[in-house]
Amino acid sequence: MFHKPADQGGKDPAATFKTALGVKMFIGYALVYAAFIGINVVSPLSMETEVFMGLNLAVAYGFGLIILALVMAVIYNQTCNNKEAELAGSPETKAE
């Protein structure tokens, strides 16, 4: 007998959309993160370059990665909320 999960919230019609969106946003962030590692390894001295309000590239990029994560998270959540609301009112979902 299978072990049933805790979530009993019913089928999620937006699951496919959210998975696809999540993968795309993950790849986008991973590329920005990979570029950060790449600069550190290939050209660490360029991290000293002053870019913003006296901050060098290393600090500005680091802060940028943290802030970007939050911004992308909020966008992802809002997009998912919109899709969930849209599909919750769709005829197929109502038929279920």
Binding site: Y29, I37, V41, L45, M47
Partner: protein
């Protein structure tokens, strides 16, 4: 022992124990004990995520590493936070949909395989133990300055308190302890950063007048008949030795021996001798610190200061309050000089000698990578750095104690929202770590023997209250994270192994009791490990836990979600190969060889971070074994989701 830290610490411990006993009545069912009944509000869960995740490694280890290695310590903050993107975009909702109490539930939802139950449970236990070690080490680090007790006492106290928290109300009490701790940590860290910025810069930090700035002496000397003779005749030459590229000169003054660092000026060939700090460990166990017997009153002086700020020193370098950008810009300026210290160890007759020599580093060097991670070194050193950053990125979404928090909320949407709250709280905290670490680096508050205490000692420079509050919260940090880890590990033992793998079909009551007994046993094991690993930088150890977690768990999670041909055998192979390859590489790494007392350069695996090899190997194992064990079409199972 000061009274206020003890009072605040006791008050916090009393509060969390009170909460645990209050919630004990709600943890009578397995769902209540292992997943807080799945009824936690997403905002509470998000802050509890922060409380769970912001461990001793984040607070003590990262701040300590930034205080001594500058920007390289902040790379941990960046990597840890980036990992939450993987958790949010890829793992959060599917984990919630598939699982019940443990990470194993989710992996096994499609297959109901005994092999997965065993492998995933063992992986959970191993990763949790790896992660527990640095937390318990951090507990020991905190106890000495806070309560004046030895390291092992701190480890035992934390162990007992955590066992009580977990054994009384499981995930419910753990959630609220983590919520409180996460909130307090962010609030008080913000206060500490504001105080640091408000104090501004000086090249002669005196901790608000509490600890006079110590000006280290420099002697001029010349060479006479092979002896280095100081111009000041009060000092007599007693020997010289070359250690690790440094020339150390032994001088005697009024019968007292001291060590000096020799420098030959490039322009004039003038010999300068710079005062050091040193500690001698005698064969009989006694210690000599800076020439006198070691005692609480005669300990190594705290260090770390700016020698010049934008080329200025003394009175003209006093800045007054500075803004956050100005703070970072001033430290990172090419004409700023930071005075750091490094240990040089050697034996002299039967004595073990550690001499701490100072070195000046330009500000632009402090605020870019390279002081710890050799990004300008060999390709192997660069690969080691990439491997660490990869493990940090992929490790978060593989940590069992983080994954089980998705089962405490009522829906996948709540899981998603709580992850966003976690990213906001954790991201804000990680930005603060840079200011706290650099604040400690420039305020004369670094303990030469243990940089893990940099943040609490920075707080101490602002007065006993902030120190007491920060130390009590740091202790709470350990409590919150260790509680989560013990819940995860005890769930693996009682739910995954006993109930499901062994098929004991425990009743609700027995399942809860099994979880509590497991929590006690795992707590005792963590106490022993915390004592054995005393002295290692806690953030460094967590890096290893991330490598093991990312290698053991992430390939299975990803492939289960995105590759339909994944089989139970493939998942089992991936977990086993991931754990064993990562652990083998760590055990054969240079850092472990150093711990064994062997020559690090003779380590068979030449890197400290195995992720870049062990993660792909684990993926490959899953793919190969899955392709070899494809079921016939009619046997294809479907995942059980609601």
């Amino acid at each position: 022992m000061e009274v206020m830290p003890v009072v605040l610490f006791a008050a916090f411990v009393g509060m969390v124990l009170g909460l645990s006993f209050y919630f004990a009545g709600q943890a009578k069912s397995a769902a209540g004990y292992y997943a807080a009944g799945g009824t936690v509000h997403w905002f509470v869960n998000g802050i509890a995520f922060a409380g769970d995740y912001l461990s001793a490694a984040s607070f003590l280890g990262i701040c300590g590493m930034i205080a001594t290695a500058g920007y390289d310590g902040f790379l941990y903050s960046i990597g840890y936070l980036a990992g939450w993107i993987v958790a949010l975009f890829v793992v959060a909702e599917p984990m919630k949909r598939l699982g019940k109490y443990t990470f194993t539930d989710a992996l096994d939802a499609k297959f109901n395989s005994k092999g997965i139950q065993l492998a995933a449970a063992l992986s959970t236990i191993i990763v949790s133990l790896f992660y527990l070690i640095p937390q318990m080490v951090g507990a020991g680090v905190l106890i000495t300055p806070l309560l004046g007790l030895p390291h092992y006492v701190g480890v035992i106290i934390v162990g007992i308190v955590v066992i009580t928290i977990v054994a009384s109300a499981g995930m419910t009490s753990t959630t609220y302890v983590q919520f409180l701790k996460g909130g307090l940590l962010i609030i008080f860290s913000t206060m500490l950063v504001i105080a640091t910025l408000n104090r501004g810069f000086t090249t002669t930090p005196d901790q608000g007048g509490k600890v006079p700035f110590y000006k280290y002496a420099t002697l001029t000397a010349c060479v006479n008949d092979g002896a280095i003779t100081p111009d000041d005749t009060a000092w007599q030459f007693a020997g010289v030795r070359e250690e690790g590229g440094n020339s150390l000169v032994k001088l005697v003054n009024s019968g007292k021996t001291s060590w000096w660092q020799k420098e030959v000026k490039a322009d004039s060939s003038q010999i300068l001798l710079h005062e050091t700090q040193y500690m001698v460990q005698k064969a009989d166990g006694s210690t000599i610190v800076n020439g006198n017997p070691g005692s609480p009153e005669n300990a190594l002086r705290p260090v770390g200061n700016l020698e010049s700020i934008r080329g200025k020193s003394g009175v003209e370098a006093l800045s007054g309050p500075v803004g956050p950008f100005e703070f970072l810009a001033a430290i990172g300026h090419p004409d700023t000089r930071v005075k750091g210290w490094k240990p040089i160890k050697f034996s002299e007759d039967t004595d073990s000698v550690t001499v701490f020599v100072s070195e000046l580093t330009a500000g632009n060097r402090i605020l870019r990578p390279g002081l710890k991670f050799k990004v300008e070194g060999s390709w192997l050193q660069k690969l080691d750095f990439i491997s660490l950053m990869l493990a940090l990125f992929l490790g978060t979404a593989s940590l069992p104690h983080i994954l089980i928090r998705y089962y405490t909320v009522p829906s996948p949407a709540a899981a998603r929202k709580s992850t966003i709250v976690a990213i906001a709280a954790i991201g804000a905290f990680y930005i603060l770590t840079l200011f706290m670490g650099l604040g400690a680096m420039t305020s004369g508050t670094i303990n030469l023997l243990d940089n893990n205490m940099s943040a609490p000692l920075l707080a101490k420079s602002f007065g006993v209250f902030l120190f007491s509050a920060i130390s009590a919260i740091a202790f709470a940090t350990v409590l919150g994270t260790v509680s989560g880890l013990i819940v995860a590990a005890s769930g693996a033992v009682a739910h995954d192994l006993m109930d499901r793998y062994l098929g004991l079909n425990l009743t609700e009551h027995r399942k809860v009791r099994a979880g509590k007994i497991s929590a006690v046993v795992i707590g005792i094991i963590s106490i022993v490990l915390g004592i054995l690993f005393k002295g290692m930088n806690v953030s460094f150890l967590v890096g290893w836990a991330f490598s093991v977690a990312a290698s053991a768990n992430l390939p299975s999670i990803i492939m289960l979600l995105f590759w339909k041909r994944t089989t139970a055998s493939g998942i089992i192979a991936s977990i086993i190969v991931g754990v064993t390859s990562a652990m083998t590489m760590i055990l054969l790494s240079p850092s472990m060889f150093k711990l064994y007392g062997l020559n690090p350069s003779s380590a068979p695996f030449p890197m400290d971070n195995p992720g870049i090899f062990s993660i792909p190997i684990s993926f490959a194992a899953l793919i190969i074994v899955s392709l070899m064990t494809q079921p016939k079409q009619e046997q294809m199972p479907e995942a059980v989701t609601a």
